[in-house]
Symmetry: C2
Subunit: 308 residues, 2 copies
């Protein structure tokens, strides 16, 4: 084993993101000891059973004791309360990070509780699946995905940032740095607005009584089923994302509605050229994503035909 990047790392919250981090940390031999804590006794029990974390603790304070790095892996709305809880137990010189999908509100919620002698370096790995919970993690989740590091202040210690960057690179991710407001706007476009739209479309289908559920389900392969995967994501996590990235999400949704109305108008008036031009333009973005290595070119994501 090469020199570990951190001696002790504490994961607070043990869902998809934390468990995938743990398996990737083990795969790479990146850390001497990983402690873990989850609020629910059932989650802690599951974690012990499947060997998730070197040591599962009965309190967050116990988990963060002597940790060189503490990563908050709880929903965005819970970050402040967890920070308040662990603050007295943090080791001097430790780095505190998180994995929340929103960065400005996490910085605002967590910063007030942290002692002066720790480094607060928020981060956001852009990876996930529609599954959640301690058993949904896997070591490859972050391979070739992006992790965005968002230092809480401009005078954050560069060495502490480099160390956190090295951990994420060891986990398999590409690392970028960004300021919090820009992060929140980019993510509103690439993630938050698309999720709300998918949730909405699935809700509409669920509501339609004339079209029975079983028909919507049977015939979902025509496009709709892709939306249902996104709309199966963790409800608590996503509630918190929208409540904490209000402004940027609402702005993008406003733009979206404007465009949607223009396309609806083109349909109503029979303006085929407008539709054709619009649909041609959007094809190019897909090509860019595949060339950037961020999705597969295999037809239909390569998922093939499901078994009868």
């Amino acid at each position: 084993m090469t020199q570990p990047i951190y001696g002790r790392v504490a994961l607070i919250g043990l869902g998809l993101i934390a468990s995938s981090m743990y398996w990737a940390i083990k795969r790479g031999g990146l850390v001497t000891e990983v402690t873990g804590y989850a609020r629910s006794p059932e989650t802690r029990e599951t974690a012990r059973r499947i060997g998730l974390c070197d040591r599962v603790c009965e309190s967050a304070q116990e988990a963060v004791k002597d940790a060189d790095l503490v990563i908050l892996c709880v929903p965005v709305g819970a970050m402040g309360a967890v920070a308040r809880d662990i603050a007295p137990a943090l080791k001097s010189g430790a780095t505190i990070s998180d994995v929340g999908s929103v960065k400005r509100s996490v910085i605002d919620a967590v910063s007030p509780y942290l002692p002066e002698d720790v480094h607060f370096i928020p981060a956001h790995p852009l990876a996930g699946t529609e599954h959640s919970g301690p058993e949904s993690g896997f070591a490859e989740l972050y391979d070739n995905r992006w992790c965005i590091i968002v230092p809480a202040t401009e005078d954050t210690d560069p060495d502490a940032i480099s160390q956190l960057r090295a951990l994420w690179e060891g986990i398999g991710a590409n690392v970028a740095e960004m300021d919090a407001d820009h992060h929140d706007l980019v993510l509103a476009v690439t993630s938050h607005a698309p999720h709300l739209i998918a949730y909405t479309m699935v809700g509409v289908a669920d509501d339609l009584r004339r079209v029975t559920d079983s028909e919507v389900i049977k015939y979902s392969a025509a496009g709709f089923r892709d939306f249902t995967r996104i709309a199966a994501s963790d409800p608590t996590m996503w509630r918190d994302v929208f409540l904490n990235n209000k402004e940027a999400t609402l702005e993008i949704l406003g733009r979206f509605t404007e465009e949607l109305f223009a396309l609806q108008r083109a349909i109503r008036t029979g303006d085929g050229d407008h539709l054709f031009d619009y649909f041609t333009r959007t094809r190019a973005i897909r090509r860019g994503i595949i060339e950037a290595g961020q999705d597969t070119d295999a037809p239909d994501f390569g998922r093939g035909a499901p078994k009868p």
Copy 2:
């Protein structure tokens, strides 16, 4: 080889749908001879090069000569013109079908041109990928997918329907029957509205100048990239779908906008309970789709990490 279901089948239009049908027909030994025609000389040339169709003809009339089944595999907006072209060459007693995503307007466009002595039995296989053209087809496309048969009139010959049903089952599909208006409404929910929404969201991302294209592409894995796959579908085909299923699509989009506004309002007013309940409800539909064998349960469609 068992008894073929049809002696001669003609495929008019040689894109993803027709080429996948051809390979599935060959896989199953379902037809004695398949002829093909495409308007573009390049497509006919490609078809000959890759062995798509037993015989590629230089005109649609030549392709349909003596065919027991003619399948129109052209965009919905071109169906009427093709029907007019081939009508004089159709064999008495032949079945005419199609694969269009809209059924009412295809029936209205095609019926007037057909002679009395043929059976017109429209159909719609609910399968496809984001790729298009004669080289994008593969024999497994329809395996365990649905094909909806929509007889043009109530007195359509039951034997002709059974024969077409047998072909689609031989191709690998499950077959259902439905009337045209109900089909168009169900598809507006499961396919047409989701496609327009995906096109819109990708267009919005493309427009955002403050968020550069490269950032949208780099960070697309957070949800957005799923939309780009759908929005990479064939522009001509989709233009025609929207122009020919106006009413149902606009109705579903109206419902969608209503729900979206309600969720935007919940975000603005901080109504977390409303969001949480909505996001919980939509999870159940995903489960139903997986249980119905219409999608994979593998995280992220099982596509895994793309190569760097």
